[in-house]
Assembly symmetry: D2
Homo-oligomer: 476 residues x 4
């Protein structure tokens, strides 16, 4: 498997197509390093004794040992290990491990291509399997490019005034297809090897050209990655892991991009756009039952720590708030467990998580994230927002004053207190904290998206029958 | 296994010790029949094709087929079947199936007696196993009598002004022990074969006499069952299952009750009071991950039905509320699944559910029950509270007016609408509905009790370590 | 002014048109007495030193001292006194004082008739003033009959398959009009002198026949009052005010009712249906800023009392919950104060409360009622749902046991504890408690109705301008 | 009155004692300008036709026209104008207007000094009045320095291991006193003329030296202002008011500061520490009923704007969320109105707001702020967190792509959409947004502080009496 050095080395050699604040930048520029460090963790941990069993898997294609982030799930156990791996790796990076999205995309393609072939006699599935073998062998990282820019939210793709507001096929010949459009909010596009492009929603017949899925190298000709980074505040003196890791999201422009057929996995089979879009969402929401508990774990840990330092850990209201945080994490995690345990093996061999549990779990996480930060704020008091800057803890004119006056519970050093509140300041009062909160609501589909899926797939008829039976209403 | 006819026959033959509103009543009096009907379901369904596999089990003591409500769980599968059995039977009785409490009590005794014996060289476990064999063979129903009356909530048992405010041993000789005190809120005590008495909390050395557990026939000399029933409104014309089932809770007085040693399962081993008390709570909370989703299912079904009849089923806000109800049910149920899957086999052979998941599940249910009723109220409008009485739907002077003016969505008959709202009226505006809501909060331990267990058992230290690592705080 | 004896005497003499559970009943039958007792309070208190100033007013028509429940508000002070009067009288009846609805109806008519006359040159306003003089002189009580049965909720009045699903004019001649239809959930119709009928919503031209308002004696020929009562549980031994007062709501059928012109206040002027419907809702929601805090006061008082008896009054979480209850009451009350202070004098002389504040106040109350009961349940524990019946506290076989074992905090007698929990049982676990909760959500318009009014009337444009200014977006 | 130019000129002349990130900085350095711009608004608006009447008042000492921010409230009208002035000025600065804290401090001193004099025969009140005259004449700005650093939260001031963890008097002679300690989170200390120091809590006799209040110039010898700024992201291209204004909070160190007697307003009169501490909190919470609705107004405006641009303004769930935001703003504002209307004139002539209403209002704001941001996030989608940087909207390689693909509702230009989302990004995903959220919870006292005041001052006894009356429990 790949080392993180090889990964960064490859990034350095890629074609320059990352734009940031008006500049065309290198992939290993300082602004992208925090994101690269996150992804590198997924490579570095393969030999770590605690992670080895979680982070590697056996390819069903080759029997080789591969990185689990490139693996197609084949069993309950696979899904449970994936969930646990994500929770544990997110602890180390202080948030989103990012690489799961590509993994979820290949899982969705692994069974959706099979279904398309069954219906249309196409050959997407074997084509995809060949791509997957390459993907696993080279231990690649993919950004899943799903969310279209969507223009007017009340119109379908083909109804938009500008037909390019959803990605679509504009030409096709014997060698391949040409696509145009843009995908939005694409995490890790600027630090990925590959872009895996999927439809964003169900399509109707008139939208057939929008039912398109493919994979391309991230530095392909006619791809532009206009990139926003959300990085932690730089630390000069009081270094800490929290300030090493960050996000990079791109506005991905496909400016008449050519894709050869061997990398095309859906092209016009509009009745299956929903299966692929929802299939990706399903795997991704199952992944969220791993990462969201991790984020809650971090909030819980920070809440516990600051309560201890403030001397209020034993108070009833503090214990109740900590128990609430634990409940959020474990309910979401339990939903992921249930989703795996109640999942089903698809004919293609892919093991698919249960829809209802994956969705109620993701929804619960999304509904609670702001409140979790609120609890941390509540327990921390105002200092995260007014903590003096690093320099003042070094300047001899102010250092002693601050060290004297920041003291709280006896026995806890002023340095620990300062580091604790600096962590809280990063978690609550930085641009990265705002981005995390927004991602907590919208990443992987907002609660309202899960409600739509639940409303569409839950067996309300069965519940209605129970009510009718109890009411004495006869079914006709 | 027993038939419900045999069960009722036995009740008729028991010693009269049930008091109700100033009278000494028969166990099969009309006020107790709704509760008897609930329990009878657990006997009647053993041959039902849909329930047979769920509601029977194989005794680990005898290898015989027994009712699962008398079974000690031995595997993940056992716990999962118990959970599912409870959810499905509650659908049929419109609420609490009641019999799980005795089952949870024997499960707790099955491993707690083992631990006491290990520590003290006592013989509680073989004694209990003998009792269990009898219990399974006769297909008995037990009320678990745990909650003491507790007097001043800020004092421990031995500190109370009146030492009887917790049940305790007042005499012991070679034949057995004499106990005094009262247990409160004891569901189905008046319709049970047996009372299984357990300590209500952790005890200290001075409380040793309060660390007592035993089983007695419910009609024992010196036991009085002062009983409150919460029954549905009687229906004269528009009969429906909802009005067939009810609750009976007793204030159980042990007025210097003699218990022979073969029915004593703890007597003075105060360090194990917590294990037994919390062990029962743990199994019972796992049971709640079955019954609480059932109650939510009924609320969901009624909400769906009334929304359909009102013609608002497709509205965004309605779908969102239904999705919320589904989420509550399935998150609680998922917690039960995770609790089973992450459970552990105790040395005694009993399979014990995971504590954290059982508690976060029960807590989530308890925190949501009032809001669930609120949603149903919201969707139903005011009619559940003002629906004319049955007689007015029969009286020729008013019948036609009501049938004309109650009409809603075209194609739904006035009778269906009336039956639907009569169900809602029972669910929202009857004394039984109030009792159900209170039981939803407090039955099996209020959310605050779960928070205490979570605060005491959750691994907050691990989360704190994550926070310290991210903050750059070195562990010493 | 009238005495309560005169009021009951009059009820006895009225034509029998009250139907209850299949019977034609007398207005002073036992089932209606709890409701009559509520209304009688509004008569009995006029000489009470503490209430006199609140409950009387000076008629702007005659200068006579009248009952404030028959008064048209002329000033901020009037609205503030009305609000306070309602809060204080509801304390005495343990809930809704009922008589405000008629008062709110005449206030709405007092300015809406003026506006209709201005637009159409009609004479509704002087006609109404004459009726009002009679209404004040005889100290009458009116039920406001507004809510139509409405049939299919997605259709307007004239679109319904059955045109009678909203009350409408079916004939008109020189003497008066004939109306047909039914009004639903009409509180106190069976114990009122008069029915004041108002349109339930805005109307379009095709609905003109549905734009009708009038007043008739409650026992008019061709009116049927099909009545549902929600009364407290009868007490035989432990009498208490909580069990003296109840509700009676009627399904009011207008079976081709003739109304003479002098009692018709709108007939076909459809553009003003909204003004009258919303005008009544506005005054009524302002009244709710008096009664809802009263109900919260009662919940707060009961919560404080039971916490004291349980010995937990000083606990942090208890204080926090009590503070929350106080906050709900006082925010709603503050909204009523603001609604009065920011109200406006209408050209007709009527002082109209501010719309936004009345609506945000009523909405806040409606959103909190279930949670208030949940808090009381939380603090009370399970006993409200399992408290033994009265008889068992009298029966010598059980009396002493119960008195011994119900004891809690030292120094509080068992009788007090029992009475306290009997109150809680009535408040939480009776059919009346369910009706109160439903009324708390829907009475006077559900939160969703207030949201509709807020969405329609709040100055979102002004807020949008602030956002545009801050964003640097130029207004064109 | 002062101009903003005069104000900045004076800042330039002050002694350098502001430390920031290790440097001793000028008061008009770029980092402090956003805060200075906020305060300047309070000077610039005195001649603005829309603000003139709100922002000026008549001094009760001199009869001169003064800035209302230096005025002691004398009437309901004064309090209502103050509330409105704060709401309207905060709109212009996109958040906290900052100057109210000094105003609230002088209001608290105006009546607390009077009470101390009455009890002790001291001369604080005339001394304070003289200071106030100077304060009003020179149109000064004061930071209220109240919050001590507090050390171990479970110990009182004199119990701390380090006696300096609360500000206290260490010496006193005929000329004045010497104080030592530090105050924390002191907004605008670095841009104020004066620091007004107040005790942070109630004191006991042993804490007498901590019962101290005084005013000093902000650049006094032996005062150090270690300052944290929270400024908006700099904009290079797309300038907007939102990015002009910011916060500066200081850690204020009193390093054996000498204060002459004429500036000392409490010194050792420990029984009155609570009156002064709570008096300031009371006036300040009343001010929050002005500023918090303003912040909600901005969130409401941004929510309305983005919903319009997304084309979802008419959706039910959007209208419901907007109505919720309006309800939060107006309930808090209503509480402020009620607090003024139900306020009382103190013997000193100061008009004091009602405690209960000020506290329930501030609490409601504090409990809602995170949820308000959550609503905005919900309506906005993910773009606030991933919006490309300014430069990419200018760079010819990317400009057209972004302008094409950011389009939403037809008719809204890409520039408007970009400016709207840039505002949202600043409001949701900047360090300033985190600081605002924390300030929304803790500024002026966290919800838990209001609960403590409500629990201590609300008339729960009266509510308990109502419950006892309804329960039939006789008062002894």
């Amino acid at each position: 498997m790949r080392t993180s050095e090889e990964y960064v080395e490859k990034l350095r050699g890629m074609r320059k197509n990352v734009y940031m604040n008006g500049e065309l930048v290198e992939r290993d520029c300082p602004e992208l390093m925090p994101s690269i460090r996150v992804l590198s963790k997924t490579l570095d941990l393969v030999d770590h004794p605690e992670f080895k069993d979680l982070i590697t898997a056996t390819s069903h294609l080759t029997g080789n040992t591969i990185n689990r982030f490139t693996h197609v799930n084949r069993s309950v156990e696979d899904l449970r290990k994936k969930q646990k791996m994500i929770r544990k790796t997110c602890h180390l990076t202080g948030g989103c491990i990012q690489r799961c999205m590509g993994c979820d995309a290949i899982n969705a393609l692994s069974f959706a291509t099979y279904e398309i072939d069954k219906a249309y006699g196409t050959e997407y599935h074997p084509r995809f399997s060949k791509y997957l073998e390459y993907f696993q062998k080279d231990d690649l990282m993919a950004a899943a490019a799903q969310t279209d820019v969507k223009g007017d939210r009340s119109l379908r793709p083909h109804e938009q005034k500008d037909p390019d507001l959803y990605v679509h096929v504009v030409e096709r010949d014997e060698d391949g297809i040409v696509v145009r459009g843009a995908k939005n909010h694409i995490t890790m596009a600027a630090t990925a090897d590959e872009l895996v492009c999927l439809p964003t929603r169900a399509m109707k017949e008139e939208d057939a050209d929008y039912a398109v899925a493919f994979a391309v190298p991230a530095d392909s000709e006619d791809v532009k990655l206009i990139t926003h980074v959300a990085n932690p505040r730089p630390r000069k003196v009081f270094k800490a892991p929290i300030s090493e890791f960050g996000f990079a999201d791109s506005f991905v422009v496909f400016d008449d991009l050519f894709v050869p057929w061997e990398r095309v996995f859906m092209c016009g089979e509009w009745p299956f756009a929903a299966l692929l879009a929802h299939g990706f969402a399903l795997f991704h929401r199952h992944s969220y039952t791993g990462c969201k508990p991790a984020i809650t774990d971090i909030v819980t840990g920070a809440s516990t720590l600051v309560s201890e330092y403030q001397g209020i850990l034993g108070k009833t209201h503090v214990r109740s708030k900590l128990a609430h945080l634990a409940s959020v994490a474990e309910l979401v995690y339990a939903a992921g467990i249930a989703s795996a345990v109640e999942g089903e093996k698809h004919e293609s061999g892919t093991f698919v998580p249960n829809t209802v549990y994956a969705n109620v779990g993701r929804r619960h996480a999304g509904l609670n994230i702001y409140h979790e930060y609120e609890i941390l704020t509540d327990l921390a008091g105002g200092l995260p927002s007014t903590l003096p800057f690093e320099g003042d803890f070094v300047n001899p004119d102010t250092k002693e004053h601050l060290e004297k006056y920041i003291m709280r519970k006896e026995g806890v050093s002023s340095e620990k207190i300062q580091l604790c509140f600096r962590l809280l300041s990063d978690m609550l009062c930085s641009s990265l904290s705002g981005v995390s909160a927004v991602a907590g609501v919208h990443g992987g589909g907002s609660p309202i998206m899960e409600e739509i899926i639940i409303a569409a797939t839950y067996d309300f008829e069965e519940k209605k029958k129970i009510a009718k039976y109890l009411a004495g209403i006869k079914e006709e």
